[in-house]
Amino acid sequence: MTNLMELKNITLNLSKDFTLNIEKLNIIEGEILGLLGPNGSGKSTLIKIIGLLNKPDKGEIIFNGRKIFPPKKFSLKNIFFSNDIKNKQSIVTVFQEPFLLNTSVYNNIALGLKLRKINKKEIKKMVNHWLSILGIEYLASKHSKKISRGESQRVNLARAFIIKPKLILLDEPFSTLDTPTKNNLLYELKSIIKETKTTAVFVTHDKNEALSMVDRVAILINGKIQQIGNPTDVFLNPVNKEVAEFIGIENILPGVVTEIRDEISVVKVDKSIINVAFPLNIGDKVLVCISPENLTINLKKLSNSSALNQLSGKITTITPLMHFYSLTIDCGMKLKVYITSQSIKKLKLKVGSKIFVSFKSTAVHIIKQ
């Protein structure tokens, strides 16, 4: 596995209290790297740095085995012309908005080839090829301002892929589209990336999009890459509180290890005791992460259950969500639990009901502090 691009110690000061700081980020040739993070985490800025559209304050960028930042020397050419246009020409960015030029769809898709002074015959062949791959032959002679959003984004993709980039950067390309349009495009996009063997960076704030699209995922929060790896791995084992919160683990509670029994560590959280299947030492300060969907509610304490944790508590709120209910429960600590409306009816749950919350010791994820 060779690195197509390496970023080292990149810093860029964006405002008084926000600095993008990328210690190390490698983009492996042929992969789809997901860049995931909340709004304002610096994703778009990082993508502009990778796309050579924005210069960092400090750091080093290696592309295709050659150091391309910092540039070797200061010259007039660097100011008035794009510095090192060749590198720039093999990286292309697809933005959230299509930003089409005020001309026909055909001319928009041909733009990159015209900039590279390709002859007209070849351009025509290539444009027709990409029009058909994205299924938009019927748009060719239409004006770019007279087509729908979904169609515009297809034109945008054709315009980017036609130049055969080594690296394509997709900055939340479909976030303004409706769900069915978006899902179709995501599927097509992935197969185009894989068929053309293009390396891609896919920016999103949607966990599911990342899971279906990417080979590796990097989590960017507060201008720093917090974790990078296989997406299922990252989503199951967040390394810190920020990542855990971002990926939607709602119960994140601080605790201290008080006892070790066989493979089970006993953690004191608030006024309660939790058993976790995770190797720890007495006195360790940890964050206990439990997803709301891993919690079960019972009316009585179960005598023969594989769930090691059974805590008695009281329901404090019941909030209806789209497909289920979200309950908060006070059982010496505050827990969020998801259950279906059926269960609510069956168990006759209401605010103030006394219940037991149970979960397996393996359902708990631990972040050491």
Partner: protein, 230 residues
């Protein structure tokens, strides 16, 4: 009322019979103002482009100086050019004072800030992300310039119209640096001024009508180009 009526009649006669003197004056006017507008465009539009896409300390100061230049009185420019081209002045050795070239120089200086200022504003209203998108597709800064010009065709042609209007309607500077010499540096505006001061109203009205007609025709052509669909 009579005065205007007679003036109009005489004017129409002069135009229909193509008075050779008026023809010469008109051609010189178009030539001088056309060349100075062209020069101002060649310098001013790229100037506006680089001003809008680059970042440097003092950028706002430069923009505000250009904007001030847009409303600079032509008489003051005329005075500065006269002093510069005066026989004992810094560029006196060129012997340009009281020549058509002197008028071109003065008008170019008058029109440049109009073209530069308005085109800076036109380039600045382009979405920054559109610029990034074009650069990301591999455009050099010069290719970017030509693509953006097509994107802002409407305001750019409006800029040219404003620039030409400033040149052709200006009288103070042309008078001072050209000298209003018959068959040499007399243009429509300076001729109108002279005829009016002589009380020769028919001639003045005729000249004014021609000036208005010329301006109208040239603006009509530019507007047709501007409003043309792709």
């Amino acid at each position: 009322m009579n005065l205007i009526y007679e003036g109009l009649e005489k004017a129409i006669n002069l135009i229909i019979n193509i008075d050779p003197e008026i023809l010469k004056i008109s051609i010189l006017s178009i030539k001088v103002s056309g060349i100075s507008t062209l020069l101002a465009i060649i310098i001013g539009i790229p100037f506006g482009y680089f001003l809008s896409i680059s970042n440097f300390p003092g950028k706002k100061l430069v923009i505000s100086l250009i904007n001030t230049g847009m409303s600079f009185p032509p008489v003051v420019i005329g005075l500065l050019v006269t002093i510069t081209l005066w026989r004992s002045g810094p560029l006196g050795f060129l012997n340009l004072l009281y020549t058509p070239s002197a008028i071109i120089i003065a008008q170019t200086i008058i029109v440049f800030p109009i073209v530069a200022g308005l085109s800076t504003a036109s380039f600045q209203q382009i979405d920054k992300n559109l610029i990034l998108q074009i650069l990301s597709l591999g455009a050099s800064k010069i290719q970017l310039f030509w693509i953006l010009i097509r994107e802002i065709k409407l305001p750019i042609i409006a800029t040219i119209i404003a620039g030409f209007g400033g040149a052709i309607s200006e009288v103070g500077a042309s008078m001072m640096v050209g000298g209003n010499i018959l068959n040499y540096t007399r243009v429509l505006t300076t001729a109108t001024l002279l005829e009016t001061s002589k009380g020769n109203f028919e001639m003045a009205i005729a000249l004014s009508i021609i000036l208005l007609l010329l301006t109208f025709i040239i603006n009509l052509i530019l507007t047709l180009i501007q409003q043309k669909k792709i």
